[in-house]
């Protein structure tokens, strides 16, 4: 479904050894379940659409709309050609926020679990509380996906994974958004069952 490959790995195969062996099918495309990937243009459009949605949440679309077409193109080309500096020259502007605020307006995130029909959870969530305290990853989960977090005295049932690692639940969400977002500026978070050793 046009998901980043790292997300797919975390969600579906995190216990597999690398390299990840996959099976490619050339027949019987599952029309009802998967998006087609007709061209590179389609992927670029999808990527830019995610970027725009992320900025709608972070800055009411002000930063991305102020950019020129060539800046948008630079984001895509930087990603496509694996040019870190080219990408970040523009992307850093999407990671800024006004001096008088303590963070973005809302945090772009999606939480994925293979156990639900809903493909992901996405809601409005502010990085800063009314009293100025920074919300944490744990605060986010408690609010939008309480079943993912183990009760105080209970056993840890799930792993909360981003980019293959389990950040501490005390990590401020604003920090995660600035430093651990995927290139599309979203935090793609996987909730997977705790592996039994």
């Amino acid at each position: 479904m046009h998901y980043p490959i790292g997300l797919l790995f975390d969600l579906l195969a995190s216990s597999s050894a690398l390299p990840w062996n996959i099976t490619v099918h050339f027949k019987s495309f599952p029309e009802k379940d998967l998006l087609h990937c007709p061209s590179k243009d389609a992927i670029e459009a999808h990527f830019m659409s995610c970027m725009k949605e992320a900025d709608a949440l972070k800055h009411k679309s002000q930063v991305i709309n102020e950019m020129q077409k060539k800046d948008h193109k630079q984001l895509w080309m930087g990603l496509q050609n694996d040019r870190f500096d080219q990408f970040w020259a523009i992307n850093r502007k999407l990671m800024e926020y006004p001096a008088e605020e303590n963070g973005f307006r809302y945090i772009p995130f999606r939480i994925y679990q293979t156990t639900t029909e809903r493909p992901f959870i996405q809601k409005l969530f502010r990085p800063v509380a009314a009293d100025g305290q920074l919300h944490t990853l744990g605060d986010l989960l408690k609010e939008v996906c309480p079943s993912a977090v183990a009760p105080e005295d209970g056993e840890k049932k799930n792993q909360v994974m981003i980019h293959g690692i389990e950040p501490m639940l005390e990590t401020p969400l604003q920090w995660l958004s600035e430093h651990l977002s995927y290139p599309d500026n979203f935090l793609h978070i996987s909730i997977i069952p705790q592996p039994t050793d």
Binding site: L35, S49, E53, L57, R118, F120
Partner: protein, 220 residues
């Protein structure tokens, strides 16, 4: 920019409820569906439509337009019936399914839809683009990927076509401001759907607009 009119999720749900109430009164078959976890929902309507471009091997029977399928895939018709079409072949009837969801990122409604032939074969994005009404074609051609794309339905997880929401506020703000200037009650969903629906073949009977304005003082 600061004057843009957004709607919150509660307002969205309220407008949908009013919209569906009228739909039930006129037998228009819009329904409200809840997500499995019941945390949110969407409006849904199914309707059937005969595809505009008949695909036949006799060019003089074309009224206009393009064929979407190569000739080898033309529908089977008995050769002596080529002059007269009494009923459309089953494969020319298209089932459209329209869903109206709320986007919390853009704080506007979004139109999702999918289309298939009666045998279950889905229409492709190319078919959809080609089916867009002539008067919207220019806009579509300027930026097809910014206008109608295929995406994952946020509640069902299946592929749907989507009319991109990022420009919604641009056209809704003047509509709302104008209505409020003349003290008119407006159902956001009715106004919005009457603007975006026709782009993808969804038309609203006029009675929806009249239903909303029943409360206003100046009735025509």
């Amino acid at each position: 920019m600061e004057e843009d009119e957004f709607i919150g999720e509660k307002t969205f749900q309220r407008c949908c409820a009013e919209f569906i109430k009228h739909s039930q009164q006129i037998g228009d078959s819009w329904e409200w569906k809840l997500s499995k976890d019941c945390s949110d929902g969407y409006m849904c309507k199914i309707h059937f439509q005969i595809k505009n471009e008949p695909v036949m091997s006799h060019p003089e029977t074309f009224t206009h337009g393009q064929t979407c399928l190569p000739m080898e895939e033309a529908f089977e018709l008995p050769s002596d019936d080529c002059e007269v079409i009494e009923a459309p072949a089953a494969s020319q009837v298209i089932k459209y399914e329209y869903h109206v969801l709320y986007s919390c990122s853009y704080q506007v409604p979004v139109l999702y839809f999918r289309a298939s032939f009666l045998d279950g074969r889905p229409l492709t994005l190319k078919d959809i683009w080609e089916g867009v009404h002539e008067c919207y074609k220019t806009r579509l051609l300027q930026g097809p990927w910014d206008t109608i794309t295929q995406q994952e339905h946020p509640i069902l997880g299946q592929p749907f076509f989507v009319l991109h929401p990022c420009k919604t506020n641009e056209f809704m703000t003047p509509v709302l401001k104008n209505s409020w200037k003349i003290n008119k009650n407006v159902n956001y969903i009715t106004s919005w759907l009457s603007i975006v629906g026709p782009v993808v073949g969804l038309n609203l009977p006029l009675s929806y607009a009249k239903a909303t304005s029943q409360d206003e003082r100046n009735v025509d």
